[in-house]
């Protein structure tokens, strides 16, 4: 009986929080220390993403022409994923 109670108590105790792995921790530190006031947000990036992808497709340096979009893509996983999917589609269709 006692064993059952102990087991039940242990099973309801919150588990220790998992620690961030070193790679993600470094990503966090880099993200914090390279934060700038004039970053663009997801909406602004989305507005310009079609032009950015066309520059890339045309073999031009989109990052140089549109550095704020490149900076956002480096920080935002969702926008970067959309850029890469869009690029794959347009490359394959061309």
């Amino acid at each position: 009986m006692l064993k059952k109670i102990v087991r039940a108590l242990l099973s309801t105790r919150p588990a220790d929080s998992p620690k961030l792995d070193p790679h993600k921790l470094k990503e966090l530190v880099r993200g914090i220390m390279t934060t700038y006031p004039d970053e663009i947000d997801c909406d602004e990036c989305y507005e310009q993403l079609d032009r950015f992808v066309e520059l890339t497709l045309a073999g031009k340096s989109a990052a140089e022409a549109m550095p704020l979009v490149q900076d956002h893509l480096d920080r935002c996983g969702n926008c970067c994923e959309e850029f890469e999917a869009l690029l794959s589609a347009l490359r394959a269709l061309a």
């Binding site: 961030l20 914090i32 934060t35 970053e39 997801c42 993403l49 269709l93």
Partner: protein, 243 residues
Amino acid sequence: MAERSTLNGAPNTQNRAPSTPQEAPGTPQEALDTLHGARSNEEWVTVLSQPGLRRDAALEDLHTLLVRGLGYALSDRSNLRESDLEDFAQDAVLKILNGLHTFRGESRFTTWAHKIAVRVALTELRRRRWQDVSLDELTESRNGGAEFIPDFLADPALGPEQQAMQQVILTTLRRLIRDALTDKQRQALQAILQGMPLEEVARRMGSNRNALYKLLHDARRRLQQGILAEGLSPQDVLSAFEL
């Protein structure tokens, strides 16, 4: 709805990227021209704006093109269902028609249309992938802590000085996450670090992706200011972590 019935009647086109490579056009510019097809930006907008047979044909062309494009864009996704490409393309065409007045002509129309289709598709796939995961499962909201930040990084290759520096920074970071961030910022930061997409975190917080990005940007700035206030320079911090 005329658009929907036309779209439903569209031929069931290729649902997956073809396995044989397409013939490569000569220059990047020619490649873009090939993709763009026979219509100029103005023609796409004009034709799609006016009901009639020409619009039906343009809608069918657009839908077919988007299904093909999405096939390539999503070719590495494992959670696709059979009807997804058709459904995503159909939803995208409706969004494109509703947002036609917002097309500024700064890119080719078909590029703009694909951008919308990719957003539609990935938003739904993310929602589906994360639908059974709650924020509480990923975060320490119950105690408002920052225990997910480790005390140190065990890297025997580092010298004692660098290890000590990392420890100071991590201790500072834990304190700042606990004391300088709002509950929302702390929770969102942790969920993102656990891999949940921004828009899924936003959905669970009753917010939207853009607002959440701004919330996290503000969180990063607070943490940065807190670290700098401790007398640590950005270079000190980045080099301590070999960044």
